[in-house]
Symmetry: D4
Subunit: 249 residues, 8 copies
Amino acid sequence: MNKQEMKRLLALVAAGELSPEEAAAQVDAPDFADLGFARVDTRRQLRCGVTEVVYGEGKTAAQVTAICQALAEEGQPRVLVTRLAAEKARAVQEALPQALYWPDSRLLLTQPLPQPDGKGAIVVVCAGTSDLPVAEEAAITAEALGNKVERVYDAGVAGIHRLFSSADVLAQARVVIAVAGMEGALPSVVAGMVPCPVLAVPTSVGYGASLGGVAALLAMLNSCASGISVVNIDNGFGAAFQASLINHL
Amino acid sequence: MNKQEMKRLLALVAAGELSPEEAAAQVDAPDFADLGFARVDTRRQLRCGVTEVVYGEGKTAAQVTAICQALAEEGQPRVLVTRLAAEKARAVQEALPQALYWPDSRLLLTQPLPQPDGKGAIVVVCAGTSDLPVAEEAAITAEALGNKVERVYDAGVAGIHRLFSSADVLAQARVVIAVAGMEGALPSVVAGMVPCPVLAVPTSVGYGASLGGVAALLAMLNSCASGISVVNIDNGFGAAFQASLINHL
Amino acid sequence: MNKQEMKRLLALVAAGELSPEEAAAQVDAPDFADLGFARVDTRRQLRCGVTEVVYGEGKTAAQVTAICQALAEEGQPRVLVTRLAAEKARAVQEALPQALYWPDSRLLLTQPLPQPDGKGAIVVVCAGTSDLPVAEEAAITAEALGNKVERVYDAGVAGIHRLFSSADVLAQARVVIAVAGMEGALPSVVAGMVPCPVLAVPTSVGYGASLGGVAALLAMLNSCASGISVVNIDNGFGAAFQASLINHL
Amino acid sequence: MNKQEMKRLLALVAAGELSPEEAAAQVDAPDFADLGFARVDTRRQLRCGVTEVVYGEGKTAAQVTAICQALAEEGQPRVLVTRLAAEKARAVQEALPQALYWPDSRLLLTQPLPQPDGKGAIVVVCAGTSDLPVAEEAAITAEALGNKVERVYDAGVAGIHRLFSSADVLAQARVVIAVAGMEGALPSVVAGMVPCPVLAVPTSVGYGASLGGVAALLAMLNSCASGISVVNIDNGFGAAFQASLINHL
Amino acid sequence: MNKQEMKRLLALVAAGELSPEEAAAQVDAPDFADLGFARVDTRRQLRCGVTEVVYGEGKTAAQVTAICQALAEEGQPRVLVTRLAAEKARAVQEALPQALYWPDSRLLLTQPLPQPDGKGAIVVVCAGTSDLPVAEEAAITAEALGNKVERVYDAGVAGIHRLFSSADVLAQARVVIAVAGMEGALPSVVAGMVPCPVLAVPTSVGYGASLGGVAALLAMLNSCASGISVVNIDNGFGAAFQASLINHL
Amino acid sequence: MNKQEMKRLLALVAAGELSPEEAAAQVDAPDFADLGFARVDTRRQLRCGVTEVVYGEGKTAAQVTAICQALAEEGQPRVLVTRLAAEKARAVQEALPQALYWPDSRLLLTQPLPQPDGKGAIVVVCAGTSDLPVAEEAAITAEALGNKVERVYDAGVAGIHRLFSSADVLAQARVVIAVAGMEGALPSVVAGMVPCPVLAVPTSVGYGASLGGVAALLAMLNSCASGISVVNIDNGFGAAFQASLINHL
Amino acid sequence: MNKQEMKRLLALVAAGELSPEEAAAQVDAPDFADLGFARVDTRRQLRCGVTEVVYGEGKTAAQVTAICQALAEEGQPRVLVTRLAAEKARAVQEALPQALYWPDSRLLLTQPLPQPDGKGAIVVVCAGTSDLPVAEEAAITAEALGNKVERVYDAGVAGIHRLFSSADVLAQARVVIAVAGMEGALPSVVAGMVPCPVLAVPTSVGYGASLGGVAALLAMLNSCASGISVVNIDNGFGAAFQASLINHL
Amino acid sequence: MNKQEMKRLLALVAAGELSPEEAAAQVDAPDFADLGFARVDTRRQLRCGVTEVVYGEGKTAAQVTAICQALAEEGQPRVLVTRLAAEKARAVQEALPQALYWPDSRLLLTQPLPQPDGKGAIVVVCAGTSDLPVAEEAAITAEALGNKVERVYDAGVAGIHRLFSSADVLAQARVVIAVAGMEGALPSVVAGMVPCPVLAVPTSVGYGASLGGVAALLAMLNSCASGISVVNIDNGFGAAFQASLINHL
């Protein structure tokens, strides 16, 4: 346990979020839980403020379950799993019956959604109905990390009054997550409307020269508007994670 | 001279735009003027409705001058030259003193601008001040081809009220040319506002992941709005040429 | 309802295409129909001249049906749906029995094809038999939007006399849609033959270095012929929409 | 002036940052200052919280000067200009003698740096000495927007103890801006060390397969660490702008 | 048999690894075994020090079996087959019952693993659990070629203490193979920790802008750390083969 | 029928390959057979020396059959069909029982292979066993077009003595077709050994950074050896067609 | 000297092109002339039928001169140098006063052009005036290698009658070299007109999405016409070299 | 100073390469020398076995000099600087008069070349004369790091006997560095000839579809030969560094 981790541990004790006994247990615990196929980063919560999130793709249901259990044993029972196929999710839910699963966004959470403790609202706005799975990945991730979320869906720039009609909602955002495929223009327009940070999520919605979302990604990186940063294609999770960090500052 | 060309020639005579003598001369003329280094397409006006336009890049001033003179000899004295460097333009102007030159857009026209004879107005809208050279290439080309042109400049989507403030101008367009670099979002928004065709021109304005205008090009090709078609990067000429065809229908 | 929309509404009333009562109903109607998963742009007809077209990919049959019904309720019963898989189409047709479906081009239209009201003919020319699905998407879309369509199929440049044999048909076009995969040369040749605008549609027909249609797309963007603009790969719909706007000017 | 802008204006009056007279002047002012070549977005400060920043590339010194003066006339005398070449900067400084210029990062600010009013510190960490111009663009932009900035330079992952030796500085950050070229690994390591958002800036430092910074950009977009979002290659400004938004929440 | 091959043959006889009779047989043998569909390079062991390895993809089980038998007949009974699908492996195992098969890494070895005869240990370190198939391809290949292998798995840079906790293992390496997908940062960090060569293996783990592993590949090629060279995406075999060459020097 | 076609027709009569009656029939025949979905180029044999070849991909079995029958009716009964899936081939063979089909290379020929009438031999050399389908597409196409073919298979550059052992075969070639995937080095080595033209065929064999054959394609286009030209990835047919033209000169 | 080389040497003696003494000298000569910085392949003429051609780019004038002299000493005084800058050419001409230099195509030949000894004519056809430097590189190379050359310039597909007017010239070709930039459509049309092989040369003429000639290259690789093979961008030399091989068969 | 570094320090003392006093000084020294613009990694020699190498591009002569001096003060006076422009080198040499500079390969070494202490020879083989600067960067770097180097230059695959004539030299290599541009085939052939590791260096030599060396890079990554790993384009230094590590094992 390094100095920064120790400081944060003490802060949690001071804030009453951790009993001295729990804190002492953490001090003695190993840096990570070695499962052979995985080294579970049990100290990420202290170091980065959030429990390790499990990337479900390329892992078996048994591996996912074991990692969630290892984290639970270290006192971190609420674990988020991303990109988990439905059949694997069912197997995990058998071992962890409390777990919730959202098939469209392929998210699993090992415990019910927490009460929001972020400072404001995260607004998730998306361009088209086909972008919904990614938008929902963002929205549910944000809720799983303790944020209040507002949704503004199907508000693409080709009928821009649909976006303007939600100006009130956008105005109350502490962070906006803007999700769009095709030409990816939505974040540029949104960032010109709001005084808060905009996290842009390109999606793979489109065909031909959309190049699997690369067109939208490039558009967002080249936005003429200020206040935008970008995550990987279809990475609703990544945008929500950072939005949550911002919303908890 | 093929059947279609003959039909159009007769139509011009019938409309009084060509005397029978002029028409007869064209019937006897060769299909093209062979200058050795170039085969000047003297019959393009009949075939495609517009005198051949000269691509200035990669040609010497002497070559450009000779082509313009060959077209003049075939009764087509108003010739547009695109992408002509300033020093070459000066040399051409010495041989053809009537010629006008616009240094920003690198256009040369061997005779004064004609009176507009298109049916409506072409509106050229551009996203930022840095896009002006391409926007002007479009605007002047359109004027050189006989169109009334309205300009709406620096109306990018990051401050979209600047675009909306010109809604009246846009509403009167028969065709809109939308010019933008960076994320290339402008045509999508414009196409959602107007009931006429939008020709989108990506520019190479930007840096890094703009990839020399490829980002804007991809965005425009993937627009979620209908009624958009696209030309090559920085090809203000190409958009104006097609806009003029449409405006003269 | 903004000023432009009001103007167009009044023009429709003046032209007898709308009764004062219908117009009044539209003035009072909301800007869009919010279905939760979609914000149906009921005012696009007024704003852009054409009812919203539904992008079928990534939507469920129930979503498509609901959007079509929402538009019908706003007095726009003829709705075009693009890229709709056959099994979804069947489900939509059960709810909307009048709907027509074309399996090759994956188009659905909720009512019979309208009488043509465009000013001239749209000629759809394609390079090879394998390009037919895209060419048909263009042709049927154009018909669904009220245009007379002529088809010239399998007229690729490797046997160019096949194209020249249809010169008469091309000469009567008000707009040409040129569809080609592989090297995408067809639009360049066509644009050298006709005095009207050419809309170029690259297709994904080909293999290896065709890169899923990118080769044809690049070729069309770089055409040495004037009068061409380009839409996304396989986007027969987009070309036809633009052609229809032009044909109704 | 729309509803949101009005709300923010009143909030500024309530907070004593604006006198009622100044506020009234803003209500009556036009939406933007139209200079012909530019439509200066005088209302961006109200709408987005920050005065419009001027992109210097592709603009003449006279254009830059005129835009800065137009903003000053609307009560926004502190204007930041990015990517301004040295010779243009000299010309602007002649007209605006108070202006500061940083040649390495090509930034110009029309008035002295303000007192920091952000809530915490922004830490700018960069991988190598060759990344300094971009890192400085970020650092000075952040200072120009009212933030306290800490610099940790030449802390690339090939000698990772150099980064760890600054763990104390990083631990105090409210936002981290991580700047790196070549393989772009720095943000991934940093995000694993801190509990705050990390904004990643790829640079064009490198050669060959760095593809002008695309390699670093892709690496950052694909980071295995959570809490990262990315801006365009060499876009130190963009990262700092968003960091400042976050730091002022 | 060329001069170099003759020299090595004699060296093997001198070292007692080959009897004079066996050597004489090799001198008389043809340069390759021609099976019609394949020319089996029976002399590669002499020329390059290692028996030919069979690339299983695109070959039938019968072809693979025949090649292995041809090599056995030339006195090289231990043959490694890479990228062999499970059903093909079963068929090969029926013909060659001693053969071992590892389904995750799709490797088949026609005889049991040999005793290690390399000079030191090869350490295989990988970034995440999803990279295991490639890491195992490297580890088992190295073992099949006679090396002692140490595995350090799931030690990605987002929780870098997990890597540092294995510093002792890394310090004993004669060669390190570093396997990573996504942003591919692991080899840069490892190469900054060890004084031995690092062979970097990008994997196709990731999505969106990972471009099938190209992002990781580019990152590794652009590493700011010295002492790294790179093999093809997912090419665990290739890294292990070279590592084995180095370990046997 | 244009002048060149007439000349060639007369030459065939003079050579006794066509009776005056057959020639007269061709003079009167239409330029192409219009099947609605296809315009069969019945005059290509005269114009280009070879009957039209049918691209099977994207056509139904019924379309393929109809095209072959249309050509047969114009006196061209031996038709080659490329890239025809096995199930379609079976359907075609039911209608055209004489037709031969090669499943590996997906070629169909409506009549038995002809006697060779080319001037020399075409040598098809390929790098690895996995390249066989493409190599066979080349070899059988060449045979179908009347050429003697020699095959040199599995002669990749990693065991280059396997190639040198076939130097005698290569020395007798009038044209060489060199087929290779992966790094595509084979044509460079071959072209340095022979005094005849080399046609290079990149294949999609490989993985990761082979990018579906683009790596091999680029290598062949950049060969340091003279005397090489290149066809599309996996285009064994195209190389054989060109080789046959050369071999019949 | 290997067996093939010996055979060709004897054939030259039998044909009277080499005296027995000259042949004997070649038998004794070393395989290459080692100049330290270069290994001049003095035996390529025997092996591949043509003296080694010198690639001028990246070599000093002194190096070029020394290589030419080394070849002259081995009895091969006529050497072609490609891509040689004008100032280097002047220096070479001082040492080798007989040398000719063509500045547009950057070719140098150390002796006068030879008498044509190819069997027919090579026709070089190019699309536009801007393609002339590449077309001339092809034409002069072909002449330097002993071919009769016909030129058809500025015959692009946008005015296709200009190409058809040269049908007679094309009909007499034994090989056609088709040179085009931009969309690269010319070879497809030409290959549909002639019964001989077409070698396609893409040029870097164009801008924006021409991507430095990649658009034309891809178009040519994907040609729907048969009988085309392709060389590198701007590689007029390469096409002419292969055309000469074909023309001498 | 971590445990591994301490172990290596003690080993140096035990080997007599460091006096106890020198070792003690190092134990007390800081981890790096902080120059503000750079954190000089003074402990890399202990950690990775080689003194930090300075990347010259993007650094001023003053910065380079200061870094070299800082390393000298820590007892590491022999510093290699890569990619240093000639004018900067002159400035560095004024401050460090012992420094050697090689203009072609842009390398600077602050002290004379050391005596070789590697175990065998490193053979640098390159394909063409134009690749010499990169080959020399590799060769001189290897010498600067204490290796005996053999050079085999201009041995490209188009005249492969030139390579085979150096088979003796290659046979004595402990590591081979193979440098090639254009199609990058050389490493594949070399790796089929030798039993030692081959490090492949693609160069940017070529034009058009060589894409600045990407073609050669891809070829090398996809080599069909085993025993190859690859470094960045033009990265002769990187290959030599890795080769030196191997040669000192």
